[in-house]
């Protein structure tokens, strides 16, 4: 039976990049057409001027906030607007490899699996995300800025994967109540993964192919990261297991 995937893309500005990101989503959906169908939902998070529906012919739903809301609110609204079996949260600056979604679908059906991420690279070919690990002071991207060739291509099982490209079972999403809206922008993805694991779900990261993530392209993104980190640490500090095998590069 074909599964329904809601691809939820919260977006603010970056019109041209968004259009290319959607093109990549379509390519990825074509590769899994025999087992899944997709609904593309864009949440226009107070872009000025607003996105025009006619400029985004491939999408199915365009939501609009006139005032800038949190990443969580935009994602939650997007998911609420869809009927689906799986949710793919996707940043507007992620260019999904055409085979990435297929591997994520394979993984999400493993026993206990709740959330699946995928390997993301910076445009220069170094790793942006191959899994999030936890040290004493908090989560960080494992092997960030290192060559993609140093990390094996087998799936990794982790405590957390980035929300930049995150496939979540809809029933798990509902059980967790979606993303926590206390986070201005950032760390809500880690919060979601840790909560899912507390219920016994697993989190994995697909590694077979490299997608591109420009990271933090949205205006105002970085400024919101600090208060988000504060919320995360108040809630979770001392409550995660430490799984970082070594110090982050550059530390």
């Amino acid at each position: 039976m074909s599964e329904r995937i809601a691809i939820v893309i919260p977006s603010r500005g970056m019109n041209a990049l968004l259009a290319v990101a959607i093109d990549h989503v379509q390519l990825a959906l074509e590769q899994v057409a025999d087992r899944a169908s997709g609904t593309i939902i864009v949440c226009d998070n107070a872009t000025d001027p607003p996105y025009v529906r006619a400029d985004l012919p491939a999408i199915d739903v365009l939501l609009r906030y006139d005032e800038h809301r949190s990443f969580s609110e935009a994602c939650n609204a997007g998911v609420a607007a869809s009927a689906c079996d799986l949710v793919l949260l996707l940043n507007n600056d992620v260019l999904l490899h055409r085979h990435a979604l297929g591997e994520m679908l394979d993984l999400v059906h493993e026993p206990l699996m709740g959330i699946v991420g995928t390997r993301l690279l910076f445009p220069d070919g170094t790793i942006q995300h191959c899994g999030v690990v936890f040290g004493e002071h908090g989560p960080f991207h494992d092997r960030a800025r290192r060559p993609t060739t140093i990390v094996p291509r087998a799936p990794r099982y982790l405590q957390c994967v980035t929300g930049a490209a995150q496939l979540i079972r809809r029933d798990v999403w509902e059980q967790l109540g979606g993303l926590c809206e206390d986070y201005p922008f950032g760390y809500e993805d880690a919060d979601l993964c840790l909560r899912a694991r507390q219920l016994g779900y697993r989190v994995a990261c697909a590694q077979r192919v490299d997608s591109i993530h420009f990271e933090s392209q949205t205006p105002g993104r970085v400024e919101r990261d600090i208060p988000s980190r504060r919320v995360f640490l108040e809630r979770w500090h001392g409550r995660w297991s430490i799984d970082a095998e070594e110090l982050p590069y550059g530390a």
Partner: protein
């Protein structure tokens, strides 16, 4: 879901063993987590086990879920939950006897001596789920300083100091309060490990030191005698015996002997790889009802 209740996040070997077990259960497709009194996680070893507060767990567990524990003191409180209980036996103090007699408790053991004790005191055969060494301990070719002897002073400090006097060229390096990675680094670079905790149940640190390529000098223990073989992969005996052996540590005529013990110790450590324990945990997991393997709140079929 199986919730493993531990007493704290402190530096006690049994707590690390609990986290390792939860990690292996998860890998075998069994939903599992650690529960601590305050929901705080241990930070002195590497794990991915999710952690919740014990009170939260007891409030949320329901039909199909189960609780695991290893401290006999927890038995009475956890029994009141009415949920199936697993006792992960990590020691054979007679305090555990009432637990072994409780027919509502399934008993798991980690080593042979505990298996034999459970059989004798509880009158039933437990399930062997094994015990393993974290990968960080395995010797990976680091240069060793043969003059460095690591030891854990929390138990048997006096014995360690007495042994060091038998070999004046030995430099004692106490290990206490360090996290697992640091402990492993110290062991991988040390020539000797002194296991001085008399009456130790298993003595995982001595086994970790063997994996790290140390020559282990150990007082007799209980469960650990399954891996400690005097004159084969280590030196085991009373303090006088250990003193006599240590006095010859740097005798040229015995260099090959120590090297032989070191190599045999590493081979012994390899028998306790995490992958080996995973086979036992998989066999245990296969016996669990499907509803116990599911995440919290999932429909119970």
């Amino acid at each position: 879901m199986i919730v493993y209740a531990v007493p704290s996040a402190g530096i006690f070997g049994g707590i690390k063993v609990a986290y390792q077990f939860v990690d292996l259960l998860q890998a075998e497709g069994v939903a599992a987590c650690i529960a601590t009194p305050d929901g705080k996680a241990s930070g002195w070893f590497r794990s991915q086990a999710p952690v919740v507060a014990r009170a939260w767990a007891l409030d949320h567990l329901g039909d199909g879920d189960a609780i695991m524990f290893s401290l006999p003191h927890d038995h009475a409180e956890l029994r009141r939950s009415g949920l199936p209980l697993f006792f992960h036996c990590q020691g054979t103090d007679p305090l555990i006897d009432p637990v072994l007699r409780d027919e509502n408790v399934t008993v798991l053991t980690c080593w042979q001596q505990a298996h034999d004790y459970v059989l004798a005191a509880g009158g039933r055969a437990p399930t062997d789920v094994g015990i393993s060494i974290a990968p960080t301990f395995y010797h990976r070719g680091e240069l060793k300083d043969p003059h460095v002897a690591t030891h854990m002073p929390r138990r048997g400090r006096e014995i360690a100091e007495q042994l060091a006097e038998a070999c004046p060229d030995l430099h004692l390096v106490p290990i206490d309060g360090s996290d697992e990675v640091e402990v492993a680094q110290m062991m991988r670079r040390a020539g000797v490990y002194l296991a001085t905790a008399e009456g130790e149940w298993f003595g995982l640190p001595a086994l970790e030191a063997m994996a790290a390529g140390c020559v282990v000098f150990s007082v007799p223990v209980l469960g650990g005698m399954e891996f400690l073989e005097d004159g084969i992969n280590c030196v085991v005996g009373d303090v006088e015996h250990l003193e006599r052996e240590l006095a010859t540590l740097f005798a040229p005529a015995r260099a090959a002997h120590w090297q032989s013990l070191r190599h045999a110790a590493i081979a012994t450590g390899l028998r306790y790889r995490r992958e080996a324990q995973a086979v036992k945990v998989a066999a245990f997991a296969a016996t669990l009802p499907e509803r116990m393997r599911r995440p919290l709140g999932q429909p119970r079929v």
